[in-house]
Subunit: 377 residues, 2 copies
Amino acid sequence: MFEFTVAATNGAARAGTLTLPHGTVHTPCFMPVGTQGTVRALSPLDLEAAGAEIVLANTYHLHVRPGEDTVAALGGLHRFMAWNRPLLTDSGGFQVFSLEAFRRVDDDGVEFQSHVDGGVRRLTPERAVDIQWALGADVAMALDHVVSGTASRAEVEAALHRTGRWLERAGTRHGELAAAAPERQTLWPILQGGTHADVRATALAATLDAGQWTGIAVGGLAVGEPNDVMHTVVETLEPSLPRGVPRYLMGVGFPEDLLHAVARGMDLFDCVAPTRNGRNGSAYTPDGPLNIRNAAHRQDPGPLDLTCDCETCRSYSRGYLRHLFLAEELLVLRLLSLHNVRFLVRLMHQAREHVLDGTFDPWYREWVTRYRARGES
Amino acid sequence: MFEFTVAATNGAARAGTLTLPHGTVHTPCFMPVGTQGTVRALSPLDLEAAGAEIVLANTYHLHVRPGEDTVAALGGLHRFMAWNRPLLTDSGGFQVFSLEAFRRVDDDGVEFQSHVDGGVRRLTPERAVDIQWALGADVAMALDHVVSGTASRAEVEAALHRTGRWLERAGTRHGELAAAAPERQTLWPILQGGTHADVRATALAATLDAGQWTGIAVGGLAVGEPNDVMHTVVETLEPSLPRGVPRYLMGVGFPEDLLHAVARGMDLFDCVAPTRNGRNGSAYTPDGPLNIRNAAHRQDPGPLDLTCDCETCRSYSRGYLRHLFLAEELLVLRLLSLHNVRFLVRLMHQAREHVLDGTFDPWYREWVTRYRARGES
């Protein structure tokens, strides 16, 4: 359980297989985000039809509502949301630290005010592990101290040392819980370090010293820094990352960024972009994003994306989708979200196939060139 | 084509079969409403899974947006909304006359202001037929002059005579169009007459004089009058209605009202209630409506309705649905709408089975008693 095998590499790009309690994940892989125990506008059957192999849910959100006790009482997160494939829960760190004005951090943990009821709550490394154990996702994440992309070097280093101490505490607590059920859930650390290559290197060394991990996440990127800076950080970090575990680049992203990260050796990704973009009327196509509101689509009988096999592209014309969007009909939110998720899942599947047959690099360059050439939004 | 056969009766209740260009409709039958060419929050696959055999769409809404020219350019209403089973379009009369402040009626037709762009448009009996012919539903409705439930007898009579004259014009226009494609679409008249039994009788006689109809609609009810008044009007009217065509009671409705109308010889129904109620958190059950917001459902692992076979009841707990509703997640709008539509489709199917085996009356009385006994909203 929790094994990861790399079937092929092509440059830094990897094609892997991750074994989790609820199923197998083929990497590179995009994870749709189900913040509150549901991927916005999509059902589990939609996600299965889109080929999603793993979904991410947010520990912070589920903790404040409905509470991990309720999720556990209703059979755990898989049963709760009727999703029987693998799940990953984040640590809660990113959300808590996004509540800029409403949290106070010390060495023990972080105190924050719930966005739902205003109540003050405390999250510690142990508590984050306990909550995620109760939720029961296949993969849990250790609590990290997230700092903003514009933080000073000193701030980044301080947060890093704290994250390191928290990681040890999280590992200890998780080890206690997992002793009786070692195949229930694994715990992954999150690497911080902002955009400073040497700080990232120190963080990585400390993280690898702290335990034998079955996966490793790269956090603190895709938080507002320029995209090329993010790609450079990943590229610099990659040679030092362990080969035998999946590397999860958190919060990424858009189609191009996924490919840039795959080319730099990353395996797993999550982002709200495909569903959020879909709800805003933006649909991914191989020729760049399409804005369904555009008048050009008014009587267009063609699908969003001629190359796509999703329900939306199989059944509905651009003209109909535009009508639904202008008429503010709920169905279109689902249909565009479904297409965008399917698009990213297929993109990662295609990348994997090209890694396997040794053609990743030319395919990737051509794909990005075409994607950039047009695009409406 | 457009044939209706009655397989059995049980008191006034009937079990029938209606043959339409896109398929067979078993009556009694509830038609979900797809106002703007989509049943709110549901996809055609959802509707098929719910067992819906026919869907209603609104001529007024589709005329003002996207326009029947666009629907026709995109392959007609069936292709447009990717629904391959029968469709019925209403006449536009009810919607236009709901725009109280924004319409002016004369013998030629009615002038109204679009709720979308404020533009002034004119609807005549011929125009309503033309629009519906372009949309291409299996069943079109003749334009009627709708008056409010509180209208005076004189107003009702005047509207009625106008509706009669309009019906002749609609029939003529439809006959011209259908001459070349007689199996494309049929046209049904709408009976008005408010709550006045003798006025209804006059309207019916005039309607039957005006043509050989393949179906007949009872309009001007379910518009605010007390429910028992509505049922009395239907009961009084029923013996005079032709046996050999389906009777469509427009705008009904709630589970109880459907059964009361079936018991009084009605065959077809439409209403936005199941989807609107669903979006408001109300779910039908054999024990009356359930309010998913109620705290009692917080950790309830059971389905909305133990007797139901819909996707919602097969997959999700009340506790999860309550969480989704409180978290304002889009998925719950679909799941509750789906259940409510399935509930009414099944209810009509059950009624049909009981008519066929001669047990409708005791079943109906028991069903209504149980439905009334509890209920949360």
